[in-house]
Symmetry: C2
Subunit: 299 residues, 2 copies
């Protein structure tokens, strides 16, 4: 594999027979307050907790536009049949549409917008490119849960991302209440890498987007982490956003309330952290899950 | 059926082809502050919202005792095989054990304790008896949800309870966080009865305790109710309790966190509201789900 011997894998995963917790070596915030737009308080809070919330990132008009576009896409038969769309087996409803920063003009625009890109650049301390993009839809009454995981664990194992020098931006298209299955983060967990047990099944991504499996930490380690770091529930209005480090331990509960949840999800990776071959999979995941187009965003 | 013509059914359900919302005629609080222990502020809040919270109902020693007893029961093979125990098919784990106020000395004692019984008497304005009792266990990581319903709808349809003159007490054996699938109530919803559509399947209770079906309101009515009343999330420490009216619209989400939830659940009905034949079922549910022993509690 394309991993020069000089660059040993500092985040080994899916190899051991027992879970290992490895201290993170890479800095979380690599830019400074002088780079703007985040101030030093916001940056140190991000460093400490692994996430930050933005009350209003997009305008009410943009919000309305994005919601209309999501609704249109979810009802488009061609989109539903596309391999980049995840449809829930039980209800036959669209749950996620990937690669929207390339296939859709509206979402391409926000993915390259300075409001998002400059914050990502500032945190990662370099130019950034889009590793993945999607819109997520968690329906009312029947929204399913996602159990605890670090995105970086998957991106490292299956996409070959060397270090956790990536940040996700989730722009809320609906209000996030404590009761409609919002994002939950263990603040501070991003400073520790949980090495998962067991090899990656072939074409794991075909199942893992519907039903999580490989890469999910064991119950004992998750309990220790929750006791140590606590759990923050990320409430907030539509039009706001959350930015979080790629190695945050996060999850969301299901949703039996009448209030659905949807968001635009954008992942920025540093151009100084380009993927190599996967660290724990036979071949990289498809382009729409882990992009190999490293063109800087916003350029 | 044993419903004198003079007593027309004021809460018809499972008969119509469309959902009906019927204004409640029966008073919610039938006692007064002079009866104690609840003061007039607590009573009027209960009247308005349909529930009240008690920060500490039982002592730390009782809490430890109850938890040990729950753990012992959940591991007892005889209890697991008992028809009064609900075991989850997927995990083969105990979820609920019914009729504990008769089969277990420790829980019989708290079910007849003045701290509980006097509050129930005061709200219902009469002597009370135990219509149902159980311990509930919602596991960590895999706890399942319960969708929106009114308990009274079931007790009326399937147990023959004439009016919503009953109150439930849920004593928390674990801390209730917003994130571990706590009780959610639509405050004020208890003033309205949602008449459910469709007949009761035969022996419905055998399925409904595992997978809800009959009696669940439609999505449109639930959305209207949520928009109108809002959703209260009932957080609170272990050892505390919630008392809520039998006609509250309530639900709970699943639980992917490492923190399980368990409670002792006691239902008190007024001795002036004794069940007749079921209003919308061929025969009454078994004794452990709807008791026909009307001996006053705490006597």
């Amino acid at each position: 594999m394309n991993h020069p011997a000089a660059l040993a894998d500092r985040y080994p995963t899916r190899t051991e027979t027992e879970t290992q917790v490895i201290a993170r070596e890479d800095a979380v915030v690599q830019g400074s307050a002088q780079d703007g737009p985040l101030d030093s308080e916001e940056l140190s809070s991000f460093e400490e907790k692994g996430y930050l919330s933005i009350d209003q990132l997009i305008s009410p008009d943009e919000l309305a536009l994005f919601k209309r576009e999501l609704s249109r896409l979810a009802q488009d038969p061609a989109v539903k049949q596309d391999e980049r769309t995840v449809v829930e087996a039980k209800s036959d409803e669209v749950r996620s549409i990937f690669e929207i920063h390339r296939t859709n003009e509206i979402f391409a625009k926000i993915a390259n917008d300075p409001r998002v890109v400059e914050r990502a650049r500032q945190i990662l301390g370099s130019e950034v490119y889009i590793h993945q993009s999607r819109i997520n839809y968690k329906p009312s009454f029947t929204g399913k849960d996602f159990t605890w995981h670090s995105d970086f664990e998957t991106w490292h194992a299956e996409d070959g991302m060397p270090a956790p020098r990536a940040v996700s931006v989730s722009i809320s298209l609906t209000d996030n209440y404590s009761f409609n299955g919002p994002l939950m983060i263990m603040p501070g967990s991003h400073q520790h890498f949980i090495s998962a047990v067991g090899a990656t099944p072939e074409d794991n991504h075909e199942k893992s987007l519907v039903m999580q499996g490989a890469g999910v930490p064991d119950a004992e380690t998750l309990t220790e982490f929750a006791d140590r770091f606590g759990i923050d529930v990320l409430e907030g209005p539509a039009g706001g956003a959350v930015m979080f480090d790629s190695n945050c331990m996060h999850a969301s509960n299901g949703n039996v309330t009448p209030y659905s949840r949807s968001n635009v999800f954008l992942v920025y990776n540093s151009v100084e952290n380009l993927p190599t071959d996967p660290y724990a999979a036979a071949k990289p995941r498809p382009e729409h899950l882990g992009s190999r187009d490293f063109t800087p965003a916003g350029s």
